[in-house]
C-alpha cells in the first residue's frame, strides 16, 4: 500500500489549478488542494512510522490553520471585489515592472 501517488497527484492538480484558472475562487480551490495533499501526507507519514496518533494531532492543528488562512484569503478576495467588482486575476495587473 502506498499513498504517496495520491499526495503528489493532489499537489499536481493544485498547482495546475493555480497556474491555469483565472478565477480567485478557483485559486482558493487550488490552494485547498495543496493543503489537503499536505494533510494526507501527514497522516500517511504517521502510518509509515507507526505513530498515527502523533501525526493525527499534527493534522488537526494543520487543518485549523488551513481554515484561518482560507478565511483571511476570502476576506482579501472580498476586499478586492469591492474595488474591482471582479474576481478575475486578469484584472490584477496594476502592479508590474
Amino acid at each position: 500500500m502506498n499513498l504517496w501517488p495520491f499526495v503528489f497527484a493532489l499537489f499536481a492538480l493544485g498547482i495546475f489549478c493555480l497556474l491555469t484558472r483565472r478565477n480567485l475562487i478557483k485559486i482558493l480551490i487550488g490552494l485547498e488542494l495543496l493543503s489537503k495533499g499536505a494533510t494526507l501526507a501527514l497522516i500517511w507519514s504517521g502510518i509509515l512510522r507507526n505513530s498515527l496518533s502523533y501525526t493525527q494531532s499534527l493534522a488537526v492543528i494543520a487543518i485549523a490553520i488551513e481554515v484561518m488562512v482560507v478565511a483571511v484569503f476570502l476576506a482579501l478576495v472580498y476586499a478586492f471585489h469591492e474595488k474591482s467588482s471582479s474576481l478575475d486575476t486578469d484584472d490584477m495587473r496594476r502592479l508590474k515592472g
Binding site: 493532489l10 497556474l19 485547498e32 494531532s57 481554515v67 482560507v70 483571511v72 472580498y78
Partner: protein, 160 residues
Amino acid sequence: MMIYLTLGFLLFFALLAVFLRDTLLSVLSLATVSALLSIAFYQLNSPVAGAFELSVGAGLITVLAVLTISFLQKRKEKKQPGAALWLALSLALAALVFFLFQALWPQVLADIIPETSWGEVGEILWKVRLFDLLPQILVILAAVLGILALLRKEGESKER
C-alpha cells in the same frame, strides 16, 4: 483496498473542482473532496483528523466560500485555452517527482495500520504537542484581527 477507491473518487472530484466552469459547483466539489478525504482518514484509522476534516474542511470552508460567492455573485469563469497542456505538464511533473522519489528513496511499506483512539490523540495533543498551542492561538488571533482589518467599514486612506 477500499482506500484506493475512496482516493480515486477524491481525485475525480478534485478534477471536477478544478475544471467545472460554475464556481459554486466547484466549491461544492471541493466540499466533496473534503468529505472523501475525511472518509479516507477514517479508513486509515485516524478518526480525529477525519472528524476535523469533515467539520472544518468540508463544513466551515465550504460555508465561507459559498457565502463569499453568493455575496459576490460571480459564478462563471472565463474559458481557458490550452488547459489540457498545462494539466499534462503538471501531472508529468508530479509523476517525475514521484518517480524520482520512489527510485531514490527506498521505503518501508506498512500494510498494517496502527489502531488509534480519540483519547490517545487527545493525550498527545495536550501533552506532547502542547507547545503548539500558543502559536495556534496566536494564528487564530492574528487571523481574526486580519479579517476585522480587511472587512472594516468606511474610510478613504489617502495616498501614502
